[in-house]
């Protein structure tokens, strides 16, 4: 009854539910408090001066802040994976509102470390406050410290760097705690000495905008630094005595890099070359045909001379009109984008003339043609070896060859004797001319008969020709029985006989009569080949019988 009265008494009192204890009981009974709404709803608490109201006001604010931070963690996680631009902007706005950074919202994307660095001091203050005696009971009800610690742990787990590092100001010496300005700004010294392009040391005073260098005469001079054409580019150092750049205003380093790095052919080039091999062959044929016609045909000749071009230029004009070349040109334009430009360039460079496909290709061929061709790797089976590398093998082959020649050497003919052959080959191998080598070979051959070679020398001394001296040699050698060349029987008729002469190595023939033959047989200067047909041999025997040639001398005809 009394209570009812009291209630009805306070019914019209507006501040009936506004005292701190009532609010506290309301908040404690509510399981999911919206702290932001609580701030608005119980805003009058800040006007109350009693301690319990002030404490409660602090708690409401702290809890709102902590719930904000919980949201920040969610938003940041979502921002990483979000693809929707509108939602992204929304998230950025939320983050911006809580963390209050400087800078633009549209690109705002704080890292976990930044978030931690922004909030950790406040949160730690909250934890400290909550642990004090003042908030002892409120902390038990709302568990402020626990929530704050939870947020802090969550943030530090999300970071990619250790907590200590994040908490340390990068511009503060972590050991002494003294701020270091050198870390903050890199200070250039006023005077620096650097090597220039040529390797000479140049001292630059940035303060006076001057530099010390060596001029063309070798004297040390001080010059003012000239600003570049752009007024904003202060202190651009241009040393006109030792320029870093080439005349065209570009440094050579990028050009070199461009040359080295670009336009190396790909594997596709080899396939293209193989594929268009017949085409290049045909176009070469056409070009050669036109060159040939220009030098032989009268109409072509006149056309060429009227044009005032070189032979190749005119031939190129004619070849470019060939339907094969036109079709090829069109096809290259079709497939141009399917291949790398340098691969197409390699193909075009195989042609004997310049075939224009487009300006880009022409430029590439002009500027990088050599380099593109250099980058072609030859097939593994082919090597360009210096001819001297075969010297050893050739020498071995030569020695073996000489040994074989000695085996098949034939004493019957002078130029088939082993002395002659060996000497001739050695002379040529030693770089003598053929005539000199032959002379040396005959010299070696004459050693077969000492008396003959003496007669040869005497004949030469007495003023006879070389040919007659050689005849003297044969006569003397035959007389002393040291050497006799033997002619080969080739054919015979009733009137004459054909012999293959020994002096020519059985290459030339000589016609003699039967009487001469009989004399030569007696001297042992003729033989019949052992492989001659037996019918021919018997015919010869009968013929000689008819001529009354003594049959006991017939063995002199054997090859021996």
């Amino acid at each position: 009854m009394l209570n009812k009265r009291i209630d009805s008494m306070y019914e019209h009192h507006e501040n009936v539910d506004s005292s701190a204890s009532i609010i506290l009981s309301q908040l404690a009974s509510d399981k999911a408090v919206n702290w932001h709404e609580a701030i608005k709803k119980y805003a009058h608490l800040k006007h109350y001066v009693d301690e319990s109201s002030q404490k409660l006001w602090f708690v409401i604010h702290s809890m709102a802040y902590i719930s904000d931070l919980v949201d920040v963690i969610d938003w940041r996680t979502e921002l990483y994976s979000c693809r929707d631009e509108e939602r992204k902007f929304q998230l950025r706005t939320f983050l911006h509102a809580v963390l209050h950074p400087k800078g633009d919202i549209s690109t705002y994307s704080p890292s976990w470390v930044t978030i931690y660095q922004t909030v950790y001091k406040e949160v730690e203050f909250l934890i400290e406050e909550a642990h004090t005696e003042r908030f002892q009971y409120l902390d038990k009800i709302f568990s402020i410290a626990e929530s704050a610690q939870f947020v802090l742990n969550d943030l530090s787990l999300s970071m990619t760097i250790p907590i200590e590092e994040a908490r340390t100001n990068p511009y503060v010496d972590s050991y002494t705690g003294v701020p270091d300005p050198m870390d903050e700004n890199i200070v250039m010294p006023h005077i620096t000495t650097l090597p220039n392009k040529d390797g000479d040391m140049v001292t630059i005073d940035w303060h006076d905008q001057s530099y010390t260098t060596v001029d063309a005469l070798g004297n040390e001079v001080v010059r003012n630094m000239k600003p570049d054409f752009e007024p904003e580019a202060h202190g651009t150092f241009i040393d006109y005595d030792h320029e870093w750049t080439d005349e065209r205003g570009m440094t050579s380093v990028p050009i070199t890099q461009m040359n080295e790095q670009e336009y190396h052919i790909t594997d596709e080039a080899y396939r293209l070359l193989k594929r268009f091999d017949p085409l290049i062959f045909e176009i070469n044929k056409v070009f050669d045909k036109h060159i040939h016609l220009l030098t032989t045909s009268k109409t072509y000749f006149i056309t060429h001379h009227l044009s005032g071009q070189t032979l190749e230029e005119t031939a190129t004009c004619f070849t470019l009109r060939d339907p094969l070349v036109i079709q090829f040109q069109e096809y290259i334009k079709e497939i141009y984008h399917d291949y790398e430009p340098q691969d197409i360039a390699v193909l075009l460079m195989q042609l004997p003339f310049e075939l224009k496909v487009n300006g880009n290709l022409s430029t590439i061929i002009d500027q990088f043609g050599d380099e593109i061709l250099d980058s072609i790797v030859d097939g593994s089976g082919f090597r360009n070896v210096d001819e001297h590398s075969y010297e050893h093998e050739i020498e071995l082959f030569h020695q073996k060859n000489l040994a074989e020649l000695k085996k098949i050497a034939d004493l019957k003919s002078p130029i088939h004797t082993s002395e002659f052959l060996v000497s001739a080959f050695e002379g040529i191998n030693n770089g003598l001319s053929v005539a000199n080598a032959m002379n040396g070979a005959y010299e070696a051959f004459r050693s077969i008969s000492p008396s003959g070679s003496l007669a040869f020398k005497n004949a030469l001394i007495s003023g006879k020709s070389r040919q007659k001296a050689m005849a003297q040699f044969y006569i003397t050698a035959h007389r002393t029985g040291e050497y006799t060349p033997r002619d080969k029987f080739l054919s015979a008729t009733n009137s004459s006989i054909l012999l293959l002469t020994a002096a020519s190595g059985y290459q030339r023939t000589r016609k003699i009569t039967w009487d001469t033959l009989k004399y030569k047989i007696k001297q042992g200067e003729v033989f019949v080949s052992s492989s001659a047909p037996s019918t021919s041999k018997s015919w010869l025997k009968n013929k000689l019988d008819e001529l009354h040639f003594p049959s006991k001398l017939l063995p002199l005809l054997s090859e021996g």
Partner: protein, 163 residues
Amino acid sequence: MIVLTGGSTVFNRTWHACDKPLRNHGRRSQLQFTIDSKVGQYLVSHGLVNRTFSYITFKVHDQEILILQSRNYYKAPVSDEKLISSIMAWFSDHHHGAIVVKSPYSDIGNAVERLKKIRQVIAIYPNLISTLASPYGDGIAPLTSEYPFITQPSVFSRLSFIL
């Protein structure tokens, strides 16, 4: 339309692998010479000598010419696979139109069987994807002898061979 079959060999800028060249009183006809030079030029300029071209169409004096590839090299035997794929390439590019192909085979007794098989393979091909692909897996073609009912009269009417 004149349909010719052959390989991709070229000699002296001239097509040198026609299976059954056009003849006039027993000699190679003038049209055949023109065709040879045109095809040779095409093959050389497109880098297709001794390679695969499937089919070539062009016009000589308002006369349409179709060249179907049946082999690669000079004097190589006719390859059924190459001929089938060339004809299929033409059919897939030309949805309406019929061709009469002169048999590229020199052996008449064998030719009939081989041509019959080629026709069957080409006829069942459009059906494979729509009706038979799923039960047998992608790209697995059932044998025509096993499934004689899989034939397409439309393709049969569009493709015919003469000996």
